[in-house]
C-alpha cells in the first residue's frame, strides 16, 4: 500500500483522508456519494436511518442565521428495509468506508437497525443518540446516562463491526456521557451533533421552523464543539471524530490538534459546495509539509501539550 500522509484509522476503519461526510447531508443517494468520493472524502456517514420510514417535519426545516444553519428536518428517512438497496449499492460502487447512522425510538430499535445495516454491508454504524429535535429518540437517549449505556451495549453485543457513538453537546458535562459510551463499548465517538437553537421572524412575530426548535450547525458552533473535542481527548482513549462548523482546512487542523482523529463535514457543503473535501485535504497536506509532520496522525491532540 502506498504511503499517504492523510491516512487515518478509526476503530479499525481505514480512511484515505480524515475528512468524512457528516450524517444527514445529501445522504440518500449513492450517486452523490460517488461524486464526493471523487473529491477525496475519506468515509461516508449516511442519513440517520430508523426501523420505519419517516416523513420528517413540514417546511421550513432549515433556516440560515449568519453563516450557521438551524435545522429540524425531523429525521426523514426511508427506513432500514428500503435503505438496504442503497447500502448494498454503495458497497458495490464505493471503496471507502460506509457508516450507517442509526436512530431508534427504543433500545431495541437501535439494535435491530444496526444489525440490519451491518448485515446489508455497512462497515460500521454511528449511533445517533443526539438528534436535538425529534421526540423520544436521539437526545432522550443521549441525555439519559442509563439508557445510553444500555443502547450502546445492546448494539455492541449484536454487531461485529465498529460502533461509533455520536454525542450531544446539549449536556452539562459531555465527558460524563463519553465515559459511559466508552464503558458500554463504543469504539469511537463523534463529537458532536447540533446545538439546540431557534429563530423568530420579527415581522410575523412567529418562530420560523415548523418544529420551532432545531439544531444549530456551521461555523458559529465551532468554538463550542472544539472545546468538546478537547475535553473528550483528555477523558477517553477511543478515537474522536470532530463534527461542528468545520468549513476549511484551518478548522480541520484545529479539530485535530484538539484531539480529533477525523472530522465530519456537514454545513460546509452548502457554504463551500462539494469541493470542500478536496480543499480541506489539500490544505491539511500543505500544513503537514510546512510543519514537517510525517502524517496526519502525528498532530492529533497535539494542542494538549502545553
Amino acid at each position: 500500500m502506498k504511503s499517504n500522509s492523510l491516512e487515518t484509522h478509526i476503530a479499525g476503519l481505514h480512511l484515505n483522508s480524515p475528512t468524512m461526510l457528516a450524517s444527514g447531508i445529501m445522504s440518500y443517494s449513492v450517486d452523490f456519494f460517488q461524486r464526493i468520493a471523487k473529491e477525496g472524502v475519506g468515509g461516508i456517514v449516511t442519513k440517520s436511518i430508523g426501523l420505519e420510514s419517516r416523513k420528517g417535519f413540514e417546511n421550513p426545516t432549515i433556516v440560515q442565521i449568519n453563516n450557521g444553519f438551524i435545522n429540524a428536518m425531523g429525521l426523514p428517512n426511508p427506513g432500514i428495509a428500503s435503505y438496504a438497496n442503497e447500502i448494498k449499492k454503495a458497497k458495490n460502487v464505493l471503496n471507502i468506508p460506509l457508516i450507517v447512522s442509526v436512530y431508534g425510538f427504543s433500545i431495541e430499535e437501535y439494535e435491530t437497525v444496526a444489525k440490519k445495516a451491518i448485515n446489508y454491508g455497512a462497515d460500521a454504524v454511528e449511533l445517533n443518540v443526539s438528534c436535538p429535535h425529534v421526540k423520544d429518540t436521539g437526545l432522550e437517549i443521549g441525555q439519559n446516562p442509563e439508557k445510553l449505556f444500555r443502547a450502546i451495549k445492546k448494539v455492541k453485543n449484536n454487531v461485529k463491526k465498529p460502533v461509533i457513538v455520536k454525542l450531544s453537546p446539549n449536556v452539562t458535562n459531555i465527558t460524563e456521557f463519553a465515559t459511559i459510551a466508552v464503558e458500554a463499548g463504543a469504539d469511537a465517538l463523534t463529537a458532536t451533533n447540533t446545538i439546540h437553537a431557534m429563530a423568530i421572524d420579527i415581522e410575523s412575530t412567529k418562530p420560523i421552523l415548523s418544529n420551532i426548535f432545531g439544531g444549530f450547525s456551521g461555523p458559529p458552533i465551532k468554538p463550542i464543539i472544539l472545546r468538546c473535542v478537547y475535553e473528550l481527548f483528555k477523558t477517553v482513549t477511543v478515537p474522536i471524530i470532530g463534527s461542528g462548523g468545520i468549513t476549511n482546512w484551518r478548522d480541520a487542523i484545529e479539530f485535530m490538534l484538539a484531539g480529533a482523529s477525523a472530522i465530519q463535514i456537514g454545513t460546509a457543503i452548502a457554504l463551500q459546495n462539494t469541493k470542500v473535501f478536496n480543499d480541506i485535504n489539500k490544505g491539511i497536506k500543505s500544513y503537514l509539509k510546512k510543519k514537517r509532520f510525517k502524517n496526519v496522525e502525528q498532530i492529533v491532540g497535539l494542542s494538549q501539550k502545553i
Binding site: 420510514s53 416523513k55 421550513p60 415581522e203 410575523s204
Partner: protein
C-alpha cells in the same frame, strides 16, 4: 455548479404587494425584493407562509425591485398562499439555482401547465434580442393556458403554438405532438422545457432523436434549497443547487431516473 451567496439564503419577510388571479386555481403574487429582482429566468425562490409551509416557486417576472411568482393551488401550502391577502407577510429566500442559457439564436420554448412560468420569464428576457423564437404551450383546457394575452403581445413577430388536450384552444392534443410536428420541419439551436416530468422526458427523448440541445427545468421535493439536505437529489445532482436547469449532457447521466422516479418526503425512491 451554481453560485450561492450567503445573503440569498437569509430569509426576508415582506408584505404581499399585489395579487392577480390568472385562472380558477392560479394566482400571481408580487412583492418587493432586491435580491430576487436580479434573478435570471429559471431561478427559483423558497417562499415561506408563516406557520404553514415553505415551498419552492419559480420566478415568473422581476423588474425594478418587484418580483412575481405564479402559484397553482394543488395542496395545503399553495391553497393557503393563494388565499392570502395583499399586505400579509411572506418570507422569501433566494434566488437559488442556475438559469437558462441565452446564447442560442433559434429557440424553441415548450412548457406545460404552470411549468410555463420560468419559460414566460425567459421569453420576456430574450424576445427583444433579435432571436427567432417558437413558443409551444400546452394545458388540459383553454383557461389553464397561462399568460396568453401577454405572450401574444410579446410574440407578435414570433411563432406561438398552443395545445389543449380538449381542443378548447389551439391544437387539440398533447403538447409533445406539436413538438414532433415542428421538429420534422425545422431545426432549432436549443429547446427549453418546463412542465410535468413525464412530458419533459418525452421532450428529452424527442430532442435526442432530432439531436437538438435541451435545457429542462426539473422539480423535486425541496427543503433546504441550497444543496445540503438531499431531498431534491437526482443521480449525482441536487436539483436545488446543481439545477434546476439541466442540459442534455446532464440529463443523459440521469436518464434512469429522469421521468421515472423521484424521492418522496421519506427519502424513498418512488415512481413519478
Amino acid at each position: 455548479m451554481s453560485a450561492y451567496l450567503r445573503k440569498y439564503n437569509i430569509m426576508r419577510t415582506i408584505p404581499i404587494l399585489n395579487i392577480k388571479t390568472e385562472n380558477q386555481t392560479t394566482k400571481t403574487i408580487t412583492f418587493n425584493d432586491k435580491l430576487c429582482s436580479r434573478a435570471k429566468p429559471g431561478q427559483f425562490i423558497m417562499l415561506w407562509i408563516p406557520r404553514v409551509d415553505e415551498i419552492p416557486l419559480s420566478i415568473m417576472n422581476s423588474q425594478k425591485g418587484e418580483v412575481s411568482v405564479t402559484v397553482k393551488a394543488v395542496g395545503s401550502a399553495t391553497n393557503s398562499l393563494n388565499s392570502m391577502k395583499k399586505g400579509q407577510n411572506i418570507g422569501v429566500r433566494g434566488p437559488f439555482g442556475n438559469w437558462f442559457s441565452t446564447r442560442s439564436n433559434k429557440c424553441l420554448l415548450i412548457g406545460g401547465g404552470v411549468g410555463i412560468v420560468p419559460l414566460y420569464f425567459l421569453l420576456k428576457k430574450i424576445v427583444g434580442d433579435d432571436k427567432q423564437i417558437t413558443f409551444i404551450n400546452g394545458a388540459k383546457t383553454e383557461n389553464e393556458l397561462l399568460f396568453m394575452s401577454s405572450i401574444k403581445i410579446l410574440c407578435k413577430n414570433q411563432t406561438i403554438l398552443s395545445t389543449t388536450e380538449d381542443g378548447s384552444y389551439g391544437y387539440k392534443g398533447i403538447i409533445t405532438e406539436s413538438l414532433t410536428k415542428i421538429l420534422r420541419q425545422e431545426k432549432f439551436d436549443i429547446i427549453y422545457a418546463c412542465g410535468p416530468e413525464s412530458m419533459m422526458r418525452n421532450v428529452f427523448d424527442i430532442a435526442e432523436l432530432y439531436k437538438i440541445p435541451l435545457e429542462a427545468s426539473l422539480e423535486r421535493l425541496m427543503r433546504c434549497g441550497i444543496g445540503l439536505c438531499g431531498s431534491c437529489v437526482i443521480g449525482q445532482y441536487r436539483v436545488c443547487r446543481d439545477g434546476p436547469i439541466f442540459n442534455s449532457k446532464q440529463l443523459r447521466k440521469i436518464q434512469d431516473e429522469f421521468g421515472f422516479s423521484r424521492l418522496d418526503f421519506n427519502g424513498k425512491k418512488i415512481p413519478i
